[in-house]
Amino acid sequence: MTGAAIQLDNVEFAYPGGEPLHFSTTFEAGSFTGLIGPSGSGKTTLINLIAGFEEPASGHIGFDGIDAVGTEPADRPVTMVFQDNNLFSHLNVFTNIALGVSASLDLSGDDRALIATSMEETGLSGLDQRLPRELSGGQRQRVAIARALVRDRPVLLLDEPFAALGPALRRDMLRLVSNIHKQRKMTVILVSHDPADVKFAATHAAFLDAGRVIANRPVDALFSASDIPGLQGYLGT
């Protein structure tokens, strides 16, 4: 399945007692965008709004032009990988991935084959009976990505899923996501605290500050720009 374009049009949102956030931007179909910005700038909130875990007070969120506000998370063309707690600790690798196919775990032969392919694609072959506690941090995130793959949604949202990994392993994981993006042409949005990660893996980068998308451009254009307020200060250049 190829990626979907995501449009955010005057999306307003505020946490109780918090400052209002205002998002307006477009993520191109099949792009891989890294969201960067200071802590509290609204990066995670933005992808939670796209995923449907938060509902905007006003504005529109659309996928390929179809408004999704009010649509349940499961019914959106989206799958998401979190920073932590992506897996059910009592279920083995295979079952954790299988939940992406069927919540009742009623699996056909084709389903099993699909799961095996996704495990192979993410480097998890042979680990199907392992419990999450028997896996390394990187392997656990690979399982979450494998489950995202079997869900076969056009949009993949990644909320700092590799933040807890060491530099070399993080690069491996970014390479994996980048390859998946290229092969499947999904629309990928990655929240990251490290601009280097975005430069390494993404095709586009969006800079957020104080609850707004200040700029969203191809990655080279954004990092070489000098006209984006706050970006130089954030990058320390």
């Binding site: 349940e72 499961a74 979190f82 932590d84 059910f88």
Partner: protein
């Protein structure tokens, strides 16, 4: 330059050792007394052995059924409360679930009789509709109702706490993966419930095995007597210490076996930390109607006896009650006992925790230090293994032999109540003490702050509210306790629960209702005060 270091225990460790020794003495002395008189036990008739077998079976049966019913009722209630995480009054309902444990058992029994008794609200309503005759609450039925009242609320609160630890990412995953309510139960809730259920069930079972006041009033006769009540009866009515020894030994073996079994079965659920904000549950709308029904049913079951206590209490002849000198004596005795027991309990808890903190600072504790730590941790749970009535029975034997039964009774009751409150005091203080140690230990060490100086400048100001909270809980437990006081009660030594029992026994139910309301007021007042302190502490 090489310096020599003198190895001597630190004052905190010494205080811990003294506390440990005192607890050991308070428990071991009566145990030894019971063992000492065991050889004097006459040959037991087949009839008596049959009686012992029958009450042992009943003890286990009522505890088993109480546990089963409490847990079965608590699971849907906890799921409903966890699922409906925000609705007006939820906070009040959760607080209401905490009240049964704070109420004296005897007061609750009175409320339950008002609701479920022959002339109670339910019987009257049923007779009015012509469905059935009056209910008989005495015997197993009444015991089960009372135990479910206490323990369903406890189990539901513990389960809600466990379910609320589920990380928000799980709910987001559930929403993404189209989980229905059934899937949520299977993949998310049940694994959590299953991990905490053995611990909760064994706790409830032990509380029911050691239940005294409920069985004393609602039980009766060989068909509905437990070992605890039989120990009391053999000492107070038959004055037959050897038989009490046999029963106490059985009770002790039962509790110790269960404690070990419970400890093996209990698997604390791993605290799952999360970086996410709280997430909405995907199944909160689908089950709303059923959840409302379940919460309403649970609330009605808990609230009705409490309402009955208030309604029958407010119409009591308080002028008659307060004109009796025995009331004032009972009130004074109860207050002095509660303050003494709470002070003792807090002193023991602090001494144990301060010693543990000191030993924990060592990077590689020796085998002796590890054993010392284990002993101190176990000492807090000792009262679950050796129930208050068993300790009281031992002391009863000791004091009667030395002729000190009357004069030493208040001291023993205060000690037993202090031991009873110790697990609660430790539970409240431990997180505060451990947290404080993590934050301040290295700083205090670098500044050279230790001993009394550290206690005055650092520990006391930081821990004052936790101390107050633990003190209030311990005092509330002591003021409502009947177990130990019932063994030592006399014309000169009357507590409020004992006075209430006497009024109930002499069919002065109107006066009993007034005393019950006052007793409930004292306990709930203390708990309310404690909760206020807790809220202030949390907000700080």
């Amino acid at each position: 330059m090489q310096t020599s270091r003198t190895l001597r225990p630190k004052p905190a460790v010494l205080a811990g050792l003294v506390a440990l020794g005192s607890i050991g003495l308070a428990v071991a002395t009566p145990m030894l007394a019971l063992i000492a008189i065991a050889p004097a036990m006459p040959t037991l008739s087949a009839d008596y052995l049959g009686f012992v077998w029958s009450i042992t079976k009943f003890t286990v049966l009522q505890a088993g059924l109480s546990t089963l019913l409490s847990v079965l009722a608590a699971i849907p209630l906890a799921r409903a409360l966890a699922r409906q995480a925000s609705f007006p009054g939820r906070h009040i309902i959760l607080r209401l679930l905490a009240l049964p444990l704070a109420l004296p058992a005897l007061v609750v029994v009175l409320g339950i009789i008002e609701v479920w008794g022959r002339q109670g609200w339910v019987s009257t309503a049923l007779q009015g509709t012509g469905l059935t005759g009056p209910l008989n609450i005495y015997g197993l039925t009444g015991i089960l109702i009372a135990h479910v009242f206490f323990n369903m609320a406890l189990a539901a609160r513990l389960l809600v706490a466990a379910l609320e630890q589920i990380p928000p990412e799980n709910w987001r995953l559930a929403a993404q993966l189209s989980f229905t309510s059934r899937h949520v139960f299977r993949h998310i809730e049940w694994p959590v419930i299953r991990s905490v259920l053995p611990g909760i069930a064994s706790l409830v079972f032990m509380l029911c095995i050691a239940s005294f006041a409920v069985v004393l009033v609602l039980g009766g006769g060989p068909k509905a007597t437990t070992l605890e009540v039989a120990i009391y009866q053999s000492l107070r009515f038959d004055f037959d210490p050897p038989r009490a020894v046999l029963l106490a030994a059985l009770q002790l073996a039962l509790c110790a076996g269960l404690f070990v079994l419970g400890g093996r079965m209990a698997t604390d659920i791993a605290v799952m930390s999360s970086v996410g904000k709280q997430a909405r549950r995907p199944d909160r709308f689908a089950s709303r109607r059923m959840d409302t029904l379940v919460i309403a049913a649970g609330l009605t079951f808990i609230a009705l006896p409490m309402l009955a206590i208030v309604l029958s209490g407010v119409t009591a002849p308080f002028t008659v009650i307060v004109s009796q000198s025995v009331f004032w004596r009972a009130l004074a005795t109860s207050l002095v006992l509660a303050l003494t027991a709470a002070s003792l309990s807090l002193t023991m808890a602090w001494s144990l925790l301060a010693a543990q903190r000191t030993v924990m600072r060592r990077r590689a504790p020796s085998r002796a230090a590890s054993a010392f730590m284990s002993c101190m941790q176990a000492s807090g749970s000792l009262i679950l293994v050796v129930p208050p009535v068993v300790i009281g029975a031992g002391w009863f034997v000791v004091l009667h032999r030395t002729g000190l039964a009357n004069s030493a009774a208040p001291v023993i009751v205060a000690i037993v109540n202090a031991l009873m409150a110790l697990p609660f005091a430790l539970r409240i203080l431990r997180p505060a003490v451990v947290g404080q140690a993590q934050v301040h230990d290295r700083l205090c060490a670098s500044l050279g702050l230790s001993g009394l100086q550290r206690w005055r400048l650092i520990d006391l100001p930081v821990l004052a509210r936790s101390f107050a909270l633990a003190f209030a809980f311990a005092a509330a437990l002591s003021i409502g306790d009947l177990g130990a006081a019932a063994l030592f009660g006399s014309a000169d030594f009357v507590t409020l629960p004992l006075l209430l029992l006497q009024k109930m026994g002499s069919y002065r139910s109107v006066e009993a209702a007034g005393i019950a309301l006052l007793l409930a007021g004292f306990c709930l007042g203390l708990i309310w005060l404690a909760e206020q302190l807790k809220v202030e502490t949390q907000s700080q």
